[in-house]
């Protein structure tokens, strides 16, 4: 029994539902194509917002639980009594003072020294602020006992009871790990010179204050202050008062959580999730709404007479409107259900990746019911919006009009047909252009949809190329050393000669590195100022064209990003707070630097400003591969070394981290884009075949081959896809710009470098997806029954 027969017998709403089921089954290909696009949109939204919520709630719970401070400051050395003064300042709720020192660690499983950040524990009781969660073991009870950070311990397989050697202020100390802990300050643990966490080469250790003070001759002194604010206090005001109090002790300036590395990075990730959640789902849902619109519009065209008949049989306008609305709702409902499930799975996957980098006591993915409900409702609303005019057409279709044959398809000459070029085109091209011109909005929407499917891979795949470029510019062209060594205290230039004679050393240059606050007008930034010699070759300043720049004899060289943040240009004065003193210096050079915020001054000029004679605080070293081990041995034994940065390890860690974090997201966006292209091309081909089936059958009857007929059907699609490709590349570039802006942080400035490789991959993805989705339609066309098709009414 056909759908209509069943309806005539029953005239019940159930009969319409039976028709609905059969219609859905008959058009399952198109239904699935649309549902997949809806699913992509919903999945992206659910993934982004639920991971965002999981991460944000975990972060805030953790901060609350372990009393993460609001404001932080470092000084060279200050008496412990400074805490009493600060504690009385308005807005300060609690204060914690500590000794924090970086030292080198001599580990058996690493050839080069690792860096340990040693943090003092209060003489008695738990820390007031920046507490830690002891995961295993116990607190130190003697001077040689430490608690180690969990990520470092895991990277080396350390457990309570294990030992390690630290070079503390010229002395090699054998320390015993008695506990393993996590700290809210180091959720994202970046060591000196690192741009991504490298848990093997950087660890945090908590040690008794007395032990640390004795090791560094800091008895009665501290060098690190953390403050918790009163609920209503102004952070800026507290920072200002703190700066005044700490300036005599060599503080470059206090800073809030926004500039605390770990929290700043975490917030950056949260911002990216918000950006993805806001930017990407509307693309998918927009395409889905358009597809639903054209599919339903075509169904109503085909079922025009049935609609008339059903109305004649007594079905109300509303019942028929609801019937077709249900068709759209079932399809988008299917997409929503799949999208919710995929979104949760993606959320779990992404959370698992985050858990590798963000060290929380517990980071559990919690499906966020609110964002799931919101995504589902928005997807439903968008779907309904897409089909509302088609439903209105069903409701308003008068019975007599519906049952009469549809008016013939009216084509007109395309503007410009008289041009020679058009006259020279063959009839298939003319048919294609006129068909496109007949429904320009539909053609334009398909074109934009396919263009977006190109844009998404362009805007995500480019990140791999951009990262390569960042690494190349910063680590191959600008930073040409192999190892950066920072000393625990300044050394005379003579140290350079000593290191030059170490085994394996090819070149060595001295640097003076110190934290400073740069201020220009109302803009201010805490950065590391690097003093480099005027004839430096290992650290080079590059201009926008990546040409090396001479180190200015006077004045600062700033990275363009830092100059942007301070709103300064060449020649503008910048106030530098150096060891508690303010000095005004002009901006003499602008340098291109994609990693970190760079501020440079000529080494002797810096020493002159500091009035400390010819000293260096570290060295850049180029070493030969064959004597690496001997060089590292010498480094491990060197007493004055506070930290060591291996460029190769930093670059490797950076590449591995980016590959792990980006691969999942980029893969899914590429897959989603391919699915969108499949959905669009498949649905458009199906609809065109349905609309023009009779015309194409006529051509077969006239003796045209299946290939020639296919050229008309697929030529139209090919034209749309081909036109969409360059537009997609442009949109991808624009979308890439938006994404790059979103990724911009103090740590990185991702260059918008989109090379041929990215464009080629994006184009290949969409072209292959289009070909794959055309295949079933081509087979349908090959099997078309000419006689039956010619009998079909338009």
């Amino acid at each position: 029994m056909s759908g209509i027969d069943a309806l005539v017998v029953g005239r019940s709403p159930h009969a319409l539902d039976r028709k609905l089921c059969r219609d859905l089954w008959r058009r399952r290909g198109q239904g699935i194509a649309v549902a997949v696009v809806v699913a992509c949109g919903v999945a992206t939204a659910v993934m982004s917002f639920s991971v965002l919520r999981s991460l944000d709630e975990t972060r805030l719970d953790y901060y609350r639980h372990d009393r993460f401070a609001d404001v932080f400051a470092n000084v060279v050395q200050a008496p412990t009594s400074v805490a009493d003064v600060i504690a009385l300042s308005p807005g300060v709720a609690r204060i914690e003072t500590r000794i924090v020192k970086d030292v080198t660690l001599d580990l058996d499983d690493l050839d080069a020294p690792a860096v340990g950040r040693f943090i003092s524990l209060p003489v008695s009781g738990a820390p007031t602020l920046n507490a830690f969660t002891l995961r295993r073991g116990q607190l130190p009870s003697s001077w040689d006992e430490v608690v180690a950070s969990e990520s470092f311990a895991m990277a080396h397989g350390f457990a309570p009871g294990d030992h390690l050697v630290a070079v503390m202020n010229d002395a090699r100390r054998r320390l015993t790990i008695v506990g393993i802990a996590l700290s809210p300050e180091y959720v994202y643990a970046l060591g000196p010179g690192q741009i991504v966490p490298d848990d093997r080469r950087f660890g945090i250790f908590w040690m008794s204050r007395n032990a640390l003070a004795a090791a560094f001759d800091l008895s009665g002194s501290i060098n690190d202050i953390s403050v918790a604010l009163e609920p209503s206090a102004s952070e800026a005001a507290v920072i200002e008062r703190l700066d005044q109090s700490l300036r005599p002790y060599g503080s470059p300036g206090a800073y809030g959580r926004a500039h605390q590395y770990s929290d700043a990075f975490l917030r950056g990730e949260l911002d990216q999730l918000v950006a993805i959640g806001r930017l990407v789902p509307p693309i998918f849902l927009g395409v889905a709404a358009f597809l639903l619109h054209v599919v339903l519009w075509r169904i109503i065209d085909v079922e025009r007479e049935q609609i008339g008949l059903l109305k004649a049989l007594g079905f109300s306008d509303g019942a028929l409107g609801r019937h077709y609305l249900k068709f759209a709702l079932v399809i988008s409902g299917l997409g929503i259900v799949v999208g919710l499930a995929v979104g949760v799975l993606l959320g779990q996957g992404l959370t698992a990746i985050y858990a590798q980098f963000f060290h929380f006591p517990v980071l559990r993915y919690r499906p966020d019911v609110v964002s799931m409900a919101a995504a589902a409702l928005i997807a439903l609303a968008v779907s309904v919006t897409g089909v509302i005019d088609a439903i209105y057409r069903v409701v308003k279709l008068p019975v007599a009009v519906a049952m009469a044959p549809a008016a013939p398809t009216i084509y007109r000459a395309v503007p410009g047909e008289r041009l020679l070029i058009f006259r020279r085109l063959g009839w298939p091209a003319r048919m294609i252009f006129r068909h496109l011109a007949r429904r320009p909005l539909r053609a334009a929407s398909t074109l934009i949809g396919v263009a977006l499917a190109v844009a998404l891979p362009v805007a995500t795949l480019f990140s791999f190329e951009a990262l390569d470029y960042m690494v190349d510019v910063f680590y191959a062209r600008a930073q040409r050393q192999d190892v950066t060594v920072l000393f625990s205290r300044t050394q005379p230039y003579a140290m350079l000669d000593e290191i030059r004679h170490w085994p394996g050393v090819h070149a060595v240059e001295g640097v003076r590195v110190m934290p400073v606050r740069l201020t220009a007008g109302s803009d201010s930034r805490l950065v590391t100022l690097t003093g480099i010699p005027s004839d430096a070759t290992l650290v080079r300043l590059l201009d926008a064209d990546l040409t090396p720049l001479a180190v200015p004899a006077q004045g600062l060289a700033l990275s363009t990003k830092l100059a942007d943040l301070l709103h300064v240009g060449l020649g503008d004065p910048v106030t530098v707070r150096l060891a508690g003193r303010d000095v005004a210096l002009p901006v003499a050079r602008l340098t291109e630097q994609y990693i970190g915020l760079g501020a440079y001054l000529e080494l002797s000029a810096l020493n002159q400003l500091l009035d400390e004679g010819a000293v260096i605080s570290g060295v850049e070293v180029q070493i030969g591969h064959e004597q690496r081990a001997l060089f590292f041995r010498a480094l491990k034994d060197a007493p004055v070394v506070a930290s060591v940065v291996l460029k190769a390890s930093t670059v490797n860690a950076f590449r591995q981290t980016m590959a792990r974090t980006l691969t999942l997201i980029v893969s899914f966006f590429v897959l989603f884009a391919a699915l969108t292209a499949v959905g669009l091309v498949y649905s458009t081909a199906q609809i065109t075949l349905s609309e023009r089936g009779r015309e194409l059958a006529m051509m077969r009857a006239l003796g045209f081959s299946g290939r020639q007929v296919g050229a008309v059907l697929f030529g139209e699609l090919a034209l749309l896809v081909l036109a969409a490709l360059p537009l997609g590349c442009l949109l991808g570039h624009a979308l890439g710009w938006v994404i790059v802006r979103g990724l911009d942080s103090d740590l990185f400035r991702v260059p918008l470098v989109i090379g041929a490789r990215t464009y080629a991959a994006a184009l290949a993805i969409v072209v292959l997806a289009s070909l794959a989705s055309s295949w079933p339609v081509a087979r349908q066309l090959a099997r078309v029954d000419i006689v039956a098709a010619l009998k079909t009414r338009e």
Partner: protein, 243 residues
């Protein structure tokens, strides 16, 4: 069952031998043609006459290579259509057959001239599209799209398209079925003229008895079988027909 007899010295252009066509819809089997034997001669105009559902259009579709017989042979010269693959059948339709359908079946996105040019572009011996349209009296309407033409005009464009390539066989399936009598006669005049002036063999499928008068032979079909074959001693000009 009757067999059309052929004059001894003339070679048949199309021959149907024991042609059977069975359609299967689910469990139901419908026999549309039951062993048709028929020979067609060059230059003649044959009317296949029969009521709706008699199988006349099915036979026309088989002769035109649009469909394949379930059993039996359809011979065009030496070639048995049943043995032709899809590509050869396509070529047969393109080079041998001119079709005119009841519902015109023009390509709506091409103008009258372009619809005709569709089949003439790769045929050196073909009429110029303008000349073909002139033959059916539509030269002035050559740049109009189908939607801008009346039903009769559209059908005449279809006739012009069918004959422009100067095919040896013209197959017309109810060419006047959707037209009023006056317009129908104009279309039949065009077919008549082409048959007489070019000597194109033509088969005209109709249920309209009046049209039979313009034929050389009239083959009556009912229930998928030939019920009678008669030759008209005098062919009436199409212009004299009315219904």
């Amino acid at each position: 069952m009757k067999t059309a007899s052929a004059p001894a010295l003339r070679q048949d252009i199309l021959v149907a031998r024991g042609v059977t066509k069975t359609y299967r819809t689910g469990a139901v089997e419908i026999q549309a043609l039951r062993g048709i034997d028929l020979e067609f001669h060059p230059r003649e105009l044959v009317v296949l006459l029969g009521p709706s559902g008699s199988g006349k259009s099915t036979l026309l579709n088989l002769l035109g290579g649009l469909d394949r017989a379930s059993r039996g042979q359809i011979l065009f010269g030496e070639a048995d259509l049943a043995t032709l693959d899809d590509r050869a059948l396509t070529r047969y339709r393109r080079e041998t057959i001119g079709f005119v359908f009841q519902s015109y079946n023009l390509l709506p996105s091409l103008t009258a001239r372009e619809n005709v040019a569709l089949v003439t572009e790769d045929a050196p011996q073909a009429l110029a599209p303008e000349a073909a349209l002139e033959l059916v009296g539509l030269f002035d309407r050559k740049d109009h799209f189908p939607a801008e033409l009346s039903g009769g005009e559209q059908q005449r464009v279809a006739v012009a398209r069918a004959i422009a390539r100067r095919p040896p066989v013209l197959l017309c399936d109810e060419p006047t079925g959707a037209l009023d009598s006056k317009t129908g006669v104009v279309v039949l005049e065009a077919i008549d003229r082409i048959n007489r002036d070019f000597g194109t063999f033509a088969i005209l499928v109709t249920h309209n008895v009046a049209i039979a008068e313009m034929a050389d032979r009239v083959v009556a079909i009912a229930d998928g079988a030939i019920t009678s074959v008669r030759s008209n001693t005098h062919r009436c000009p199409a212009s004299t027909l009315s219904w």
